[in-house]
Structure formats: C-alpha cells, structure tokens
C-alpha cells in the first residue's frame, strides 16, 4: 500500500505517461533518481508539453505524480525522510535545461507537495520485462493547474534526506536515457537546496535521462481540504470466521460523505505479509445493521469504473471495494474470507470528499488480536494543513460487558502509536495511568474499563500506525478506535 495523502475531490481523471512511447513498455534503463536516490538531491526534470495533448483545452489540475519500478526485481519498501515537489510551466525544452535551477523554473512555480516524509511499498508484480504498475504514488496537497499551450512542465524535486530501501537491493525506478525524446534532467546530488547543478568530473550533472512519470489530472478545480481532516483508516489483522471476522466501524458527521471501502488480502503477500487472506469479501452495513452493499472481487462490481476513478482501486482482482455516498450516521464494514477461509486481511476506509464540514468523525475496527504478525495494526492518515487532535482507544474487557457480550474479549490491551517511519511516538497500557489521563477524561471518550488503553494527542498531517496487542502475549477480540476531536 502506498501510504500517502489521498487526492481531493476526484472526478474522472486524465492520465498521462511521459514519455508516452513508454506507456506499454518500460524505459531502456533503471535509475535511482529522483525518489530512490540514497543521497539528498535537488532534481529538475522537464517534460515536453506535447505529452499532455489529452488534457482539456485551457489545461487541467495535476493532482498526482507516480513512478514505477524498472523490471525485473523484487518487492521492496522505500522511505524518504523529506521530499518536496514543485511544479511550474517552463520555457525550457528537453535537453536544454540550464545548470542554474532558477533559470528553469516558471513564474507559476507551486509547491504541490510540501516537505514531508514519504513511504513507498511496491510489489513489483508485473511482467518480468515490465512495465510495472505506477504504484509509487505521490498525491499533491496543492494541485497544479497546467496549461500545455503555455510551455513545458518542470518537475522540481527536493529530496532532502535520500531514500532508504528495504531490502537494500538498490532497485531503480523506470527511466529513459534517450537523447531527443520528451524529457531530460538536471540535478545536484548531495544538496537538495542547491542553486546550481552539481558536477561530475568537469561536467555538470545534467543529461538526457529522465524518470518515466505518470501524471493524473482533473479538468475541475479541486475543492481545498479543510484544515483538519481524518482521511483514512486501515486496519490489518488476522481475519477468522464467525465472531472473528474483521469488522470496521466509522461515523460520519455533519452531512453526507463519499467514501471508498476496501478489503485487501492477496496483495499483502507481495508486501511480505505471511498468511494473507486469499480472497476477501466486503459488506457495508448501515446504522441499523442493514446491509447497504457487498462485494467480492472489485473487478466484478457494478461500481468498477467508480472504483477506478477513485484512483485507489485494489491492486489484486480478488480484492473487494465499495464506493458509497453515505448520510450522517454509524456504519460498519465487515471483511471475511470467501468460502469461510481465513488469513491476514486489511480493511480500509478512505474519505473521497473533503470538501465541506461533513467529516469522518470516527474510525474503528474490531477483530481478533493474536500475537506476532497477527496483532491488530491500524493505519490512519491525517490530512489538511494543520494538526488534528485525535484520541485512539484500544478496548477489550469492556466488550465482554456489551449486550450481547463479545465472547473471548481481549482482557488487557496495550496500545502503541508510531509515525510513518515506524518511530514510536507513544505507548499506553492502562489509560488511567496515562500522563494525559485528565485530557482523556475531558474528551468524554475515556475507555469504559481501566485496563483499556488510550492515546490522545494532536497529530500533524501524515501517516500513522496504531498497534494493539495483548499484555504478556494474551489474545482475544479487541477494538481499536480513532476519533477526530477537532
């Protein structure tokens, strides 16, 4: 899964691969630049305007850029500590970029992705001779209006930290080295804030090479996201049968909201997760428990085009997805294995409509918490432009007091909150012992049982992971909940 901020207000998207000659075949070489460079780098790549001939007259809003891995290879994860992307319209043409970066930048220079950490995971599941899927995706926080009739597109990347790979096999992104094609680059390896190109020997670091890029654009102006946004929740755990299926809950407040739900299984195998669910099914239930929609295999869904248009269709045909516009209320997503099968699965809820005051207020997942790889792992994405105050709860014993009681409830949950790089931000065993106990009480969302866990804090826009396990390796049914307090 590519864990990045999700696109705003998606409509049917234009889709450009540059150079266009590489739409169905991979480039002639791999290259580490710009996003997989192990060292910091300032990198500019110009793309000829003719590549965007499919855009609407007057231009479109580019909302997303994506890269693909050069085949062959193996699945890997890459982390970049700080990546910033600017776009502008440049008068420079391929193979004529200046060694002075500022001379290439257009007057409409826009920070489309402010400096932030980024994590990529790619399965490299495509043909051995490529091309691979464009699954190294960066969705812009500020879409860029680009009119090809005004000039060429300049992609200006500041990779301030360099990337780390796991495994460290130096796999490269797909690239072209051709002279005279639709793209070329200039860069400074070692200094993300450089004003001029670096040098190798007596030559400037500039050549006819370029990464093969995919641009997603929309003819309509995206509606800005509100300053505080809980955009996405994803929970991974072992999906069993009966009471041990994976159940995700969420609350919509302030009016109707468009969401996409996904049930992921087989593609987890490509990400190195053992024992993944081979064929997940997905059900969406309403506030009264009524079945609103169901799906097994998203490619067979009557919503297939809507799922594609969301930009986050599952990567495996056997996985499931539902797009729905839902009124205010409480909802439940149930993931099970087709035919009663079991395995590790992932339920995800994405906010497709960040345009107004309607909000995803709460995201929760219930399921069996085991040990090792089968603990409960919940991911969340904070969007917007400001910190969002959240409370994350891990419940167990109180589930046994519900009517009817949940059998086999986790007796003593333990909660960890980590950032997108896996760094531990905070842990809690019993919420009553938290240094933020009073804040938790004041939120009115204190867990019902003293043995349960809670973390309350303001989180800047980024990706986070909450891990729930049983104290001393105990197991049982648990519930992880995320509440937006702003």
């Amino acid at each position: 899964m590519t864990s990045l901020l999700f696109a705003t207000a998606l409509v049917r998207a234009a889709d450009v691969v540059a150079p266009s000659s590489l739409l169905t075949q991979q480039g002639d070489t791999g290259n580490l630049f710009p996003i997989l460079s192990p060292n910091p780098i300032r990198y500019q790549q110009v793309v000829d305007h003719a590549q965007f001939a499919g855009m609407a007259a007057g231009g479109e809003y580019i909302t997303q850029i994506a890269f693909r891995v050069h085949s062959p290879g193996i699945a890997f994860t890459a982390n970049i500590g700080s990546l910033q992307i600017n776009l502008s319209t440049t008068s420079k043409t391929p193979d004529t970029l200046s060694s002075t970066f500022a001379a290439n930048v257009g007057t409409d220079d826009t920070v489309v992705f402010p400096a932030a950490s980024v994590q990529f995971s790619t399965s490299v599941a495509g043909p051995v001779d490529g091309p691979q899927a464009f699954d190294l995706v960066i969705t812009f926080t500020t879409p860029f209006h680009y009119d090809p009739s005004k000039g060429n597109l300049l992609v200006d990347i500041r990779n301030a930290s360099g990337a780390t790979h796991d495994p460290a096999n130096d796999q490269q992104i797909d690239a072209t080295s051709a002279f005279g094609d639709a793209t070329s680059r200039v860069y400074n390896l070692g200094d993300a804030n450089a004003a001029t190109a670096g040098t190798t020997g007596s030559s400037f670091q500039m050549d006819s090479f370029g990464a093969v890029m995919r641009f997603i654009s929309s003819p309509n102006a995206p509606v800005p996201a509100p300053p505080h946004t809980l955009l996405n929740s994803a929970t991974r755990m072992r999906v069993g049968t009966g009471d041990n299926v994976l159940i995700g809950g969420f609350i919509i407040g302030g009016g109707s909201k468009k969401v996409i739900l996904r049930a992921i299984g087989p593609s987890l195998t490509n990400a190195g997760v053992p024992g993944a669910l081979t064929d997940p099914t997905l059900e969406l239930h309403g506030p009264a428990g009524e079945l609103i929609a169901s799906n097994d295999n998203w490619v067979s869904s009557t919503q297939k085009q809507a799922i594609i248009d969301s930009g986050i269709a599952p990567s495996d045909d056997r996985e499931s997805a539902i797009v729905a516009t839902l009124p205010e209320g409480n909802y439940t997503a149930v993931v099970a294995g087709a035919g009663g099968t079991s395995g590790v699965g992932l339920v995800e809820i994405y906010d497709l409509d960040q345009s107004a005051t309607n909000r995803l207020r709460n995201l929760s997942t219930r399921g069996r918490v085991d040990t090792g790889d089968n603990v409960m792992i919940a991911g969340l994405i904070i969007g917007g432009t400001q910190n969002t105050r959240v409370i994350i709860r891990a419940l167990g014993p109180s589930l046994a007091t519900l009517n009817p009681p949940v059998p086999g409830a986790l007796s003593d949950p333990f909660l960890e909150l980590r950032d997108g790089q896996g760094n531990l931000l905070e842990t809690n065993d019993d919420w009553v012992n938290s240094p933020h106990k009073q804040e938790i009480i004041d939120s009115t969302l204190a867990p019902p049982n003293d043995k349960e866990s809670a973390v309350i804090r303001a989180l800047p826009p980024a990706y986070y992971t909450a891990i729930v396990r049983g104290v001393n390796g105990t197991t049982g049914v648990g519930l992880v909940e995320l509440y937006d307090l702003d």
């Binding site: 085949s71 290879g73 080295s177 190798t200």
Partner: protein, 406 residues
C-alpha cells in the same frame, strides 16, 4: 552519439606491433538507449597472456607452437605444451613494470627468458624459467576452451599497462593508476563507481575472498558484497547496472584459488567461470546483460604481439609511468545475447575499453585521457540482429583441483 575509434597514436603503434594484418572493421553503434544493454558484468582473472592461454583459438592472432626464445646464455628454447595445471616445478614468471620491459625487449617481444630480475620469485637476479614459454591447449580449459570458440573473443585486447596486478586492476576501476607496483597504500582516485552513483546508476563489487576495493579504504563498503550475493542477485533479477566479480585470490600457494594466478590449479578457475556463467545466463537480467571475462595482466607468460603505447593519465605519470606502454595481450571473452557467436574480433582494446563501454551506455564522464580515447568494447556487439537468448552449456568438472606445491 558515436564511439571513438582507434586514436592515431595507438593506431600507429598497432601497425608497428607485428606482422598480423588488422582486418578493417567499421562497427556502427546505436544510440546507447537502443543498445539493449542494462547490465555489464566484468570478471577479471589473473596472470595469463593471450598466446599462453588462447593461442590455440582458430581464426585468432595466436601462436603457440613454433616459437623459440633465447635465454640469457643465448640458448634457444621452444614454446611447449604445459602438461600440469599448476606449474609447481616452476617460478611464478616476472611481470612487474621492469620485468615487462625486459620481456618487451625494445619491441621484439622476445625477452621472456631474459628477465634477470624476477622480482616476484623471491630470488632476485634469477631469470624466468621455462614456465614463461609454456602454453595450454583448448582441451586443458574446460570452460574457456569451449566458451571462447562459442562467443566473441578479442585477440587484440591488452592489459591497461605493462605492470603487475594492482596497477592494472586500479586501471579497471579508475582509468589510471597511482602506483606501478603492488603497494598497499589507500587510493584516492575517482572510479567508475563514483561515476555511476553520481548519475543514479547502480554498481556492485562482488568478491570471493578478498575485496580489491579495500585499496580505497572504507569508501565503497556499501557496494562491496560477497560472491554469494552475486548468485542471489542473478537469481532474483536484481543485478546492478555494473558488476565487477572477482575470483579467490588468496589460496594460490595452496593451489586452490580460482583466479588462475600461478600456482593455482587452472581447472579451479574454469569451475569459477562456469559458475558465474551459469548464474548469469539463467538470470532474469540475462536478456540485457554483457558479460566480459578477462585477465588483469599477462603474468610474465609469452605473447608474440608487442603492446602499443597509449596516452599517460596524470596519476599514472605521477606514479612514474614514463612510456604509456600497454601490457601484453590477455584473453577477453564477451558473452551476451548481443554478442556474435563464434566470432573473433581484432579491434584494439584494453581494460579502459570496458570503462568506455560503461560510460558510453550511461552517458558518464570519462575518468582519464585513457578511457576517453580507448576503443569502445561495445564495438564487438551485434546490435542489428535480434538478441540471441540461447546459451550453450559446457561440461566443466566440478573440482576442486590441485593442492599445495611441494
């Protein structure tokens, strides 16, 4: 972009070098991005000259029988077939900077038994013995004896300089050398690994027992991997753009090293080469790979072609290279889906021609005045005919062979 051709000075030297008539060859290279090359793998063995190891190859400019060389006393000795694989009864032939010039003998290339300062024998002032004029035949080489006729063999490929191991191997990495002998000080020369990294390309050095890149201290630790990783990368299809693969260096006296340096049993080197060949030709990367097998220098073994001159890079001049003389010819086999089968190529190359190929393919700046002017080894490849993915298999006994010399 086009490759450079034989520079005038080198061409003149080549014409003066011997009686062999250079065939006219006018290779036309495609644009690098249309070459189909994504991986270059270089395996460098030790200390064998072309005539000594490959002189039997039909169609090549090799000579084994019928040659006679005089010793210091004026007695003539004929070249002969070596009948053991280690040469334990002999001295390691001299092959230092000064040894080479005695053997060069003013261009006669006949001083193989005149060397009066076999600096590697441990017995100064003792001439090379008859090991230096012995040769191996095709049937002695289970791998190269089959691979050389099957693929493209270059019969006009020289060591980068008339000196011993380290200067030549440093040339292979840096396009020049900062020493004329096997001294061990840390090198500060920029290398092809720097060039690759500075352009986003990947490179790895795979060692079998000792890392040659240790001569650069810790600078390249992140690209140094054991030979087992090479096998894994081949299997996974994760080879870097450029890989140098070295054999075992350190058990020569035990006879079991795989580098072919005396007194290793050369059958172990054949096993090593076949292992690399098998791993690479079965790799998902094979379709876009060029494998180059060569030797670092001639090792003091006879070769009838006098090496020409080449430009002297600044570092080499500072180290004391006064004439720019290339080392005697060494074997060079090019194996690739883009390689012609059963082909002998007569164009002049040396170790810096490999650098030239790498730099051409990925638009990298040259490292010195040598690689910028060297002929591009890509010239031997066939970019017109569709890549031939078939791979002949060779019967190479597994070994290990040999043992300590008495």
């Amino acid at each position: 972009m086009t490759s450079s051709r034989i520079p005038p000075l080198a061409a003149l030297a080549l014409l003066c070098a011997g009686s062999f008539s250079l065939q006219a060859q006018t290779p036309v290279l495609p644009a690098p991005d249309r070459s189909g090359i994504e991986h270059v793998v270089v395996v460098t063995m030790e200390n064998r000259s072309f005539d000594h190891f490959m002189g039997w190859l039909a169609g090549a400019n090799g000579q084994q029988t019928g040659l006679s060389y005089s010793d210091s006393a004026g007695a003539a000795h004929s070249t002969y077939h070596l009948t053991d694989y280690q040469g334990c009864a002999f001295l390691d032939p001299g092959h230092t900077y000064s040894d080479g010039r005695v053997q060069f003998n003013g261009g006669a290339a006949n001083g193989w038994l005149l060397d009066g300062s076999n600096s590697l024998s441990g017995t100064p002032n003792k001439a090379n013995d008859l090991f230096a004029i012995g040769y191996y035949q095709q049937s002695d080489l289970a791998f190269l004896g089959s691979a050389a006729p099957a693929w493209t063999t270059c019969d006009n490929y020289f060591a980068a300089m008339m000196a011993e191991t380290r200067p030549n191997r440093i040339y292979m990495h840096a396009g020049q050398t900062d020493r004329l002998d096997n001294s061990s000080f840390i090198s500060g020369l920029p290398t092809i690994w720097d060039r690759l990294a500075e352009h986003g390309q990947t490179g790895r050095y795979y060692y079998s027992d000792v890392s040659f890149l240790a001569l650069w201290g810790t600078k390249y630790l992140n690209i140094i991997h054991p030979i087992e990783r090479f096998m894994e990368d081949c299997a996974a299809g994760t080879l870097p753009n450029v890989a140098y693969v070295d054999p075992e260096f350190t058990d020569e006296n035990a006879g079991t090293s795989t580098d072919d340096h005396p007194h290793a049993d050369i059958r172990n080197g054949e096993v090593f080469l076949n292992q690399v060949y098998q791993a690479l030709t079965s790799s998902p990367n094979w379709k876009h790979t060029v494998l180059i097998i060569t030797f670092d220098e001639w090792g003091g073994f006879f070769d009838h072609v006098a090496p020409p001159l080449a430009p002297i890079p600044a570092a080499s001049a500072a180290a004391g290279d006064t004439d720019g003389r290339l080392g005697f010819r060494v074997p060079c086999i090019v194996i690739s889906p883009m390689a012609k089968r059963g082909n002998i190529n007569h164009e002049q190359f040396d170790h810096t021609s490999i650098l030239r190929l790498i730099e051409w393919r990925w638009s990298l700046p040259a490292l010195s005045n040598r690689d910028v002017s060297a002929n591009n080894l890509a010239d031997v490849l066939d970019f017109v005919t569709a890549p031939n993915l078939t791979v002949p298999q060779f019967n190479v006994p597994a070994g290990p062979f040999g043992g300590p010399c008495p």
